[in-house]
């Protein structure tokens, strides 16, 4: 027993060094898996306030670009307004309503919430954005996040007024995508090297893909609505050994100056995820 104490005293520095290293690795591996282990809401709220203050100061420099993006998006949305279309006859009238159930009997599935970006990294291997909108304003985990130009990421953590978004530029990020041209599905990931390019894997070789083709979100995603812009194909590489293309995709979103985003809530997210994760019995 005495020898154990002597040993600990002798190598106290080495042991505490090893202990702290192990602690750091454990923290990191927990965080990569669940993104919630160590980051209590309190710390998130504190760094969020700080980031909000700094972003408020820095926002002035990007106002011109933000205005351009928002006005372009407004123009696009105005063109989609119901009042621009003439109904074919007068016996039926098309009404677009913001209620949960409209007069045509359709059920609202997706709701958009605007949010300001108050923190953003893109130089690391694991990048996050911080948004000034939290659970008190209706943000839930796993909600999809899109910008004026293209999709941005997925919410991984919320506190009362701030939420944290796993950017597309994160090694654990996976988004179900497809080619707009022929709906061939694939998966969007990031290889960690260049923040302007994503990787699209598992695209079947039957797809007629060409450089410049548009890549959009697929019909299979639980949190993203279908046909949201992701990017354009920049290069195509085909592996002889597999039946799939690997595409390099230029992001539509400019992650360097992003200021405003929309959170997308899927009213049926819980239902879809639950039924997808159920393992079938008796097969």
């Amino acid at each position: 027993m005495k020898n154990i104490f002597l040993f600990i005293r002798r190598y106290f520095t080495l042991l505490s060094f090893l202990l702290l290293e192990v602690l750091a690795i454990v923290l990191l591996s927990n965080a990569s898996k669940s993104h919630e282990a160590f980051f209590s809401s309190a710390v998130n709220e504190l760094t969020g306030h700080f980031n909000g203050w700094y972003s408020g100061f820095r926002g002035y420099f990007g106002l011109k670009e933000a205005n351009r993006q928002l006005s372009e998006e407004n123009a696009r949305l105005r063109n989609m307004m119901a009042s621009n279309f003439q109904a074919p006859d007068t016996t039926r009238k098309l009404v677009t309503d913001t209620l949960v159930r409209d007069t045509m009997g359709r059920v609202r599935k997706f709701t958009y919430l605007p949010a300001r970006v108050i923190g953003n990294t893109y130089t690391l291997q694991a990048n996050f954005l911080t948004l000034e909108r939290g659970s008190a304003q209706g943000v839930r985990k796993q909600m999809a996040v899109t910008g004026p130009e293209g999709i941005v990421g997925v919410v991984v953590e919320t506190s009362a007024n701030v939420s944290k978004v796993m950017s597309l530029l994160h090694r654990n990020s996976r988004v179900s995508a497809m080619l707009k041209k022929d709906n061939s599905a694939g998966s969007i990931e990031w290889d960690g090297s260049n923040p302007s390019f994503l990787t699209m894997r598992n695209v079947t070789k039957g797809a007629k893909v060409a450089v410049g083709d548009t890549v959009v979100t697929s019909y299979y995603s639980a949190n993203f609505p279908a046909r949201l812009m992701i990017g354009k194909v920049a290069s195509i590489s085909s592996d002889q050994a597999s039946n799939f293309y690997t595409l390099k995709v230029k992001t539509a979103t400019n992650f360097f100056n992003i200021q405003y985003v929309y959170l997308i809530e899927n009213a049926r997210y819980g239902e879809q995820v639950q039924i997808e994760s159920n393992t079938p019995k008796n097969q």
Binding site: T13, E21, I25, A31, N194
Partner: protein
């Protein structure tokens, strides 16, 4: 100004510089990320207790991690260089003259060559561990070597610019301090 107060100010200063300025720089190249924050650990006094040094390094790395959203990613390399630091200083400086009469490592106290070696070795170790931890999950070997060397070169450039800009006085240790 007391050494404690000065180091608390430096702690906050280096975290802010890293978070507000260097992490915001658009990537010049996929290999290069500008890191300067760990200079705080290199500037701590000679006489600091080794156990405290490890604890301070851990807290320092973790507080940067709070901003980048990666708990433990910067803490691990910080603890590593804090552990190596005393051994390296013992090798690089003559015991009686420097450590007895000066407060903290600086080019004026140690001379440019030993100080450059000290900074170079520790930044190389820091970036190797940092990239290795990120790399364990993906990547290839050339990317690893390129990223470590590119990041180390940029860090050294930043550190020497800092040394030239903020000329710290080579203060003598007095009995009163």
């Amino acid at each position: 100004m007391s050494s404690l107060l000065k180091n608390i100010i430096r702690f906050i200063f280096f975290i802010l510089v890293q978070v507000l300025i260097l992490d915001e720089v658009p990537p010049l190249h996929q290999f290069i990320v500008p890191y300067l924050y760990f200079l705080f650990l290199l500037w701590l006094p000679f006489s600091i207790n080794r156990f405290f040094l490890l604890i301070i390094a851990f807290m320092f790395g973790l507080s940067l991690d709070f901003f980048t959203g990666t708990p433990g990613l910067h803490a691990a390399p910080c603890v590593l260089i804090a552990y190596i630091r005393p051994f390296l200083l013992n090798l690089l400086i003559p015991q009686e003259t420097t450590e007895q009469s000066y407060l903290e490592p600086s080019p004026k106290n140690m001379g440019w060559a030993p100080y450059g070696l000290y900074v170079g070795i520790l930044s190389f170790l820091h970036h190797s561990l940092l990239v290795l931890i990120e790399w364990l999950q993906f990547g290839n070997f050339m990317f690893f070597i390129g990223k470590v060397l590119g990041t180390t070169a940029i860090s050294l450039l930043l550190i020497f610019l800092t040394e030239l800009l903020l000329s710290r006085k080579g203060r003598h240790r007095t009995n009163a301090a």
